[in-house]
């Protein structure tokens, strides 16, 4: 064979060898060829890899997807976003109240106040039957002797206090009440016994040992540590028996306690610390009974227990230390902790799927947990497959290599009338908005913000940019929760009206068609983050709408880290397009309370309204659902009136799904997969299965 033939033959053979491989690859129509088990495998296409598979540590949505399959929480949200027991079979909320014995004032009948007398009088009122509410609420009363000397819990802003010793207090005598439910207005309930004015004259400064006279800072700390009434709400979870982790170890109350400790361990840098900060203690009362005591009234508290529970036996400090030693890291690195453990890349939980394999930026594989307490899922394998590019993901889906992926709004229509694919949609709990920097003089007037909002045709954006994959929203709560006030009317699209408002505020159009006031034109920067096609499109649409109004808007898109670090966190921006993903509780403290407007805090637009602050605080103390609803709707109306954001829409989550995938009911009937009422498309996932051929519905 001469050189020439060789040179020609080599590439031809190589190409032929590569191309013939085509005949071995399964196509959409023959997915089961050579692999019957394909029907028992669910392959999901995701655009980014998960980061850390630990319910206590993860902060990204991809990790969250896997974690919910591998771990169970004590509770979760049911079809209608109400709490439902999982690892906990039931739970009840009670309360412990500590009332300071205020001797400065007598009882209504003039008798002097002593601890024993308070106890006796409350018990008498309870048994008298004249106060049925008190009778039902108060379970027991106990006197706590004062006198113990304790240090004042005190966080100083100034390092030098000019005090030789740390401030200390002598505890006053108190009365401890056990209540059958949380009663924020306990003094009102006890008013017939203690009098309406009880506690009004109580001065905690009396109990300060050193120094004698408290300054402003110390007084605040005193008031916090020695309130007239200290509320300690208690939640008791009764745990499910006979639940085992994937390694066979039984699940007990110790695991719940450990999970809490892992969150609060500073070394672990858990992003959930602030959720669990109001907890005073978690006790494993019995192997299947957990008692959680809170430091103060905090109504959203119970919702955090939807978080997955870690296996204590695999992650106790001594086990972690052993792992560090095995990896040759002992001594060299004290910081080795839960965050560094290999557990986060090979998690063990109690969930319906057990973890099997993780190849970075490629796949995560899970397999069915055969002895899942709620019955094993139908799928045997679950693949989480990473495909970053939206177009190739779609092509891969069409060729049958993935079963489902989350659609961009513009992709939805392509699958809706298909005989091979279907779409599955649920309204998400987030919303997208334009946030104005309320601190700037330009935006400080609500009328200006309202005018800007009126110049945007939001319905048109939903129709053309979102392709109908979203709903108009008017306030800070998810639409499917009770907290949302459907009575609030959205801003009308009225550019002329918007112009009138601005003209009434002294703006007038100049020769270039731009609004001008005192020689300055109405100009600002609108920014958003990189990587979100919809926000980028809205950027252009809004820029154009405002230009028509006579406002000059400069737009820019920044990469996430730069966006947060340089603009949002330090408050150096004019207006942003962003979105929030909300929880199901009515607590809005971090996003809307005026104390949360500092650097790196979430009220980055600097919204400030005393009425809103008051309601936000009241919501955290209110345990009665009807009252919460009333308060949250009032808050919704206040925020909608102030328009610190222009609320745009709540986006829907829509997934493409192979038509061969169906939902199997308990009775064995099949039906098309459906999202829950609350918008969770994977709510019924454990009942899904794939058929050989697409059914006729």
């Amino acid at each position: 064979m001469n050189v020439r033939t060789l040179l020609l033959l080599a590439p031809l053979l190589l190409l032929a060898g590569l191309v013939q491989a085509y005949f071995w690859v399964p196509k959409y129509d023959q997915q089961t060829r050579a692999t019957p088990s394909r029907l028992e495998t669910f392959i999901e296409g995701e655009s980014a890899d998960a980061k850390i598979l630990n319910p206590v540590l993860h902060a990204d949505s991809q990790s969250s997807r896997i974690v919910t399959l591998v771990f169970d929480g004590l509770l979760d949200l049911d079809q209608n976003l109400n709490l439902r027991g999982r690892l906990a079979t039931d739970w009840k909320t009670t309360e412990e109240v500590f009332i300071v014995v205020d001797e400065s004032r007598g009882f209504p009948d003039g008798a002097a106040v002593t601890p024993e007398r308070i106890k006796a009088r409350i018990l008498r009122a309870k048994t008298s039957g004249r106060f049925p509410e008190l009778t039902a609420t108060v379970r027991s009363v106990e006197v706590l002797e004062g006198g113990a000397v304790v240090p004042l819990r005190f966080k100083s802003n100034t390092t030098d206090l000019g005090q030789p010793a740390a401030p200390r207090i002598r505890l006053p005598p108190r009365v401890r009440l056990e209540l059958s439910r949380v009663e924020p207005r306990i003094l009102d309930l006890l008013a017939p016994v203690l009098g309406r004015e009880y506690g009004a004259g109580f001065d905690p400064a009396r109990f300060l040992l050193s120094p004698d006279t408290p300054n402003e800072e110390l007084r605040r700390a005193l008031n916090a540590q020695l309130p007239t009434v200290e509320h300690n709400p208690i939640i008791e979870f009764r745990l499910r028996r006979n639940v085992r982790f994937h390694d066979g170890h039984p699940f007990t109350a110790e695991d719940v306690k450990f999970t809490y400790e892992a969150i609060m361990e500073p070394k672990n840098l858990s992003p959930r610390t602030s959720d669990f900060e109001p907890i005073k203690s978690v006790e494993a009362v019995e192997p299947h009974l957990v008692r959680v005591t809170y430091k103060r009234l905090f109504s959203p508290a119970v919702n955090v227990w939807t978080m997955g529970v870690l296996p204590a036996h695999l992650l106790r400090p001594e086990v972690i230390a052993k792992e560090a030693e095995e990896r040759g890291l002992s001594g060299a690195d004290d910081s080795f902790g839960l965050r560094d453990s290999s557990f986060n890349r090979a998690p063990v939980g109690t969930g319906p799927f057990r973890f099997e394999e993780w190849q970075g930026d490629e796949l995560i594989k899970l397999t069915r947990n055969e002895d899942y307490w709620d019955g094993p899922p139908i799928y045997r394998n679950y693949y989480f497959r990473v495909i970053p590019d939206p177009l190739t993901k779609e092509l891969e889906f069409r060729s049958g290599a993935i079963d489902s992926y989350q659609l961009q709004p513009f992709q939805v229509a392509r699958f809706e009338s298909s005989s091979r694919y279907r779409t599955l949609s649920g309204l998400g709990s987030g919303y997208t908005y334009i946030g104005y920097n309320n601190r700037l003089p330009l935006f400080s007037d609500p009328r200006v913000r309202r005018a800007l909002g009126m110049a945007i045709d939001v319905d048109e954006i939903i129709r053309y940019v979102m392709y109908g994959e979203g709903e108009r929203t008017t306030g800070p709560y998810p639409k499917q929760t009770e907290w949302y006030d459907h009575g609030v009317a959205p801003l009308p699209y009225d550019p002329k009206g918007a112009l009138r408002i601005l003209e009434s505020l002294g703006w007038h159009k100049n020769d270039e068609g731009l609004l001008e006031k005192d020689g300055k034109i109405f100009e600002f920067n609108l920014i958003t983050n990189h990587g979100n096609l919809i926000r980028k499109a809205i950027l252009s649409v809004v820029q154009n709408s405002w230009r028509r109004l006579g406002v000059k808007v400069n737009t820019q898109v920044f990469e996430w880290a730069v966006f947060l670090e340089d603009f949002v966190n330090p408050g150096r921006f004019d207006a942003v397009i962003l979105g929030w993903l909300m929880g199901v509780d009515p607590d809005l403290f971090q996003i809307w309370h005026s104390t949360q407007a500092g650097r790196n805090q979430l009220n980055f637009v600097g919204y400030e309204n005393p009425d809103a602050d008051r309601i936000i605080e009241a919501l955290r103390r209110e345990y009665d659902r009807d009252k919460q609803v009333k308060l949250s709707r009032e808050l919704h109306r206040i925020i909608a009136t102030d328009q610190p954001y222009t609320f745009l829409y709540a986006p829907a989550t829509t997934r493409a799904l192979d038509r061969k995938i169906v939902m199997v009911s308990e009775a064995g009937d099949i039906s098309p997969p459906q999202a829950s009422e609350g918008g969770d498309v994977f709510f019924h996932f454990n009942r899904w299965r794939k058929l050989e051929a697409a059914p006729d519905f």
């Binding site: 053309y464 940019v465 990189h530 990587g531 252009s540 154009n544 028509r548 730069v562």
Partner: protein, 320 residues
């Protein structure tokens, strides 16, 4: 599949090619000639783009008409549009994009932006390359901190060559605020190394040539020797590299746009029109094919002209 066209290795220029001779050879190369014509056309288009989208707004690339989105080329604008939203001549020559913006207007605006990215970036790269190469070649023996200047500059060049260019550009562009100037500067700062190397070689050999020695003997000032005698003679290969580098810079910008780090809105470039258009490839293929082919044609023209210039300047190849 981003490739640096590192093709200036076989240039041999003696510095004596007259312009006429060059032009005669160049004209014989039909591909290069076509490329040249395309580039002239492109230059005019870019100027027109600047003129008609900014100075005298005939085609406004920023007007959003959501009701008219994703229309194919040569569609008439719908009649419901208000007068100030209607496109020039009431027709979308190249269709509309996902927000109903006129693709023709955007391509027109983009032609100027894309070209200026190419030219400015290459301008920066060539200036640095020529300066460092020239200093290294001419003043190479002088000492700085105990090391010869030549050694310093060339080692620095080696260091820069060690970086994976595209990865470095991507890192810096992703970390910096995304302005069009940053992109130009970063592309420029990472593209000067080969130029520096061969300018140095050119200067080294020119320094020994009779006309330079003569000029020195006549006592002409150094500045004059460098700028009037040596530099023009070293310019030919620089021009060839520059031509090819403009093509590379345009491709780099489009690759950055694909990853989302290219020029940001509202500035349109062909690269970001293309990368936005790819999402609508099934609904509106023109959004993908028009900018894609435009980039292909222009980059091809630059490359062909570069190739033609190289062949015309290369005495060995010219001896047919």
């Amino acid at each position: 599949m981003y490739v640096t066209t590192d093709v200036d290795t076989d240039i041999e220029v003696t510095g004596r090619s007259s312009l006429d001779e060059f032009w005669v050879t160049f004209r014989r190369d039909r591909l290069a000639l076509i490329g040249f014509v395309v580039l002239v056309g492109l230059a005019l288009l870019a100027l027109a783009g600047k003129a008609f989208t900014e100075w005298w707004v005939l085609f406004d690339p920023a007007v959003v008409r959501l009701s008219d989105r994703l229309l194919p080329p040569l569609t008439e604008a719908s009649s419901v549009l208000s007068a100030d939203k209607r496109p020039a001549f009431g027709i979308y020559f190249l269709g509309t994009d996902d927000l109903g913006r006129d693709v023709f207007a955007r391509m027109l605006q983009g032609s100027f932006v894309s070209l200026s990215i190419g030219f400015v970036a290459v301008g920066i790269a060539m200036s640095i390359g020529v300066a460092l190469g020239g200093i290294s070649g001419y003043y190479g023996e002088s000492k700085f901190l105990g090391l010869s200047v030549d050694n310093l500059i060339m080692r620095f060049t080696d260091v820069m060559l060690c970086f994976p260019t595209f990865f470095l550009i991507l890192t810096v562009v992703a970390l910096l605020p995304p302005s069009i100037y940053n992109i130009m500067i970063v592309i420029g700062l990472t593209g000067w190394m080969t130029t520096a190397r061969f300018v140095r070689a050119e200067f080294l050999s020119l320094k020994e040539q009779d006309f330079v020695l003569a000029a020195k003997a006549m006592g002409l000032p150094e500045r004059r020797i460098i700028f009037f005698h040596m530099l023009p003679n070293a310019m030919a290969p620089v021009l060839v590299t520059a031509t090819v580098s403009v093509a590379t810079a345009i491709l780099t910008e489009s690759a950055l746009s694909f990853l989302g780090f290219g020029v940001q809105p509202p500035d349109a470039t062909w690269g970001n029109i293309l990368s936005d258009g790819k999402n609508f490839i099934f609904d509106a293929p023109w959004l993908f094919f028009i900018p894609g082919s435009a980039i292909l044609v222009v980059v091809l023209a630059f490359n062909l002209v570069g190739e033609g210039m190289r062949e015309s300047l290369n005495p060995k190849l010219r001896r047919r």
